[in-house]
Symmetry: C2
Subunit: 392 residues, 2 copies
Amino acid sequence: MASLLQTTSRTWAEVEQMLASGDVQGKLAKEDLPTPALCVDLDALNGNIQRMATYARDHGRALRPHGKSHKCSQIAHLTLQAGAAGACSAKLGEAEAFAAAGIDSILVTTPMVGRHRIERAVRLASRISDLILVLDHAQNADDLNAAAAAAGVQLHVALDLNVTNRTGVAPGADAIALAEHVARLPHLTLKGIQAYAGHASHVIGFAERAASSLEAMAPAIATRRALEAKGIPCPWLSGASTGTYNIDGEMDGLTELQPGSYLFMDLDYDRIGGPTGDRFDDFANSLTVLSTVYSMPGREQAILDAGLKAFATDMPFPPVVKGIEGAVYSFAGDEHARLDVRRSSLPVALGDRLELVIPHCDPTVNLYDRIFATRGQQVEAVWRIDARGMST
Amino acid sequence: MASLLQTTSRTWAEVEQMLASGDVQGKLAKEDLPTPALCVDLDALNGNIQRMATYARDHGRALRPHGKSHKCSQIAHLTLQAGAAGACSAKLGEAEAFAAAGIDSILVTTPMVGRHRIERAVRLASRISDLILVLDHAQNADDLNAAAAAAGVQLHVALDLNVTNRTGVAPGADAIALAEHVARLPHLTLKGIQAYAGHASHVIGFAERAASSLEAMAPAIATRRALEAKGIPCPWLSGASTGTYNIDGEMDGLTELQPGSYLFMDLDYDRIGGPTGDRFDDFANSLTVLSTVYSMPGREQAILDAGLKAFATDMPFPPVVKGIEGAVYSFAGDEHARLDVRRSSLPVALGDRLELVIPHCDPTVNLYDRIFATRGQQVEAVWRIDARGMST
């Protein structure tokens, strides 16, 4: 009987030492990784970074990639090196982690409500050169202004505009009234508008998606123009997502793109379709979970070591095995998955290590403490997901 | 306009200092916690711990609570203080974390396949007094035996019996052949059988659940008897879950219970029903996520700061607001939720902090780095979820 041992030449003690020191380049292979392991293919990631950077530059837009997708300051730095204007974070905790890693232009895309959040936000504003906070309520503006006055700082703020039935002030009269209110507060500087139409990003079919985003974003652009007409400067309008980057990026009046998932891609984004086909393939799938077959009860199914705790499960479709056709994954509890291998294009055996493409990248990344940056079968770097779990 | 500030008397700087030092008792309130925050009610938790311990003692069974639910060695220690025989872990990484925290009897409930996993398992076996590994394949037994021989240790192993269409050797002839194989390997000591019928645990209706578990477990008990009849000692049969503890715990031949979710409970377990009603209320819901309303676009809905990254989403029902009837939660992206408050029994306002009962406890706990142990409105301790993310 063949042994079920990995073919790696490293001992675990050697691998553990490399992982602890971070000194892996030229020494560590995918075969050495403990599974489940979150991996990013460096060539695909770098291609995605360059492609979006080129688009933004060619269209005269600033690019501020959303850190809620990667939660990893080393990836944020790669986008900055490729010309990004800064980073977005969804939560203040993420912004604090990015700031600690030397990133000094950060837009926090959700409102700062509560005394402690405001205290934290004011402190962060005094530590980095360009923190932008969003707000959607006059009282919250007053609270921010009072805290800024007490701390002796000037806060950069933007209107959070409700274009997706979530947070935000309504476009038009309500937004204008709020901007006028903010303009009177001495410790707040109104930078402009954030308008994130998240629902549009996942509409299937390019024409349908374009129509949805145009409908959502038109009131934002109109609000920006109305503010300028009233003499309230509004030089900045940030929006767009991976699904709408080349829709919103063509709109006159939007100045900044804030996509995130394009770095990794996932099965959900694959299926939204592009201008010329059913598959949205502007960016490559760079992210996978490496998993091991650790039980094989009969020839029909393999049991994998990556279950509910290895993937976000909010999408109605499961992970897909990379490089094998017809092997069907289904969740089998917190730590297990079943792989139906009856129609698998390749044999699957106990001990095999398989790569799985991810249904939804953002909340899956949030399950892992580190991401292995790979090139072919080699691991070139281990990056800490330093904003993982920073949801406050 | 009323300020949207928390009523806490603490500054964030004071709270941050308390969280960093862990010195919180008598000083920190729920009101002070950054949200989303994972909280456990100490009275409910301790009641659950005592109730299961009493049941096991009264029925002459050992109790080995499953650490995949809590991933927190401080909670494991509470169960040990109440008489538990040890801990279960689903993965070796969890066992390593528990061992580092001084727990020295651990059953790892999934097989150790792969050279590195085996090297790690052998190392852990040399560090704690009672590590029990499960196996379902003769070659894996040979690999474990060879590694144990090389390291000069004796490994305690158990047959992982397939009673739930997942991992494990088939009960009956296959299991007996594997046990005979293991019995011949000098560096493995066969402790007995693990038979975990996970599917039975979630069957709705007590009688239906009892029938399902009996059908699954009967072959395990028969296999144990057949081994004993052949002169292969099998003193130990571990199984049962929160849903079946008082079904399997009545079975002649099962020696140990390994439930986990009873510590916290969740909406999924609430609905499986008990012997006398539609609600399974043997244990209390002790676990909640504290969340803040951070946007209020109109009077009909409140936007919360706890979305897909704050809850596991594998169940087909959403979190439920504790203490308010008729406020309906729905996920609204990675960081947001919508609360429909049109039929809410209490008013909900911007800045309010709400507690949410969790659909599925285990994978939700795995999203958080710490758990706040509360009594009433006070935080009595902050426990690190030290095995969080330890999925390898």
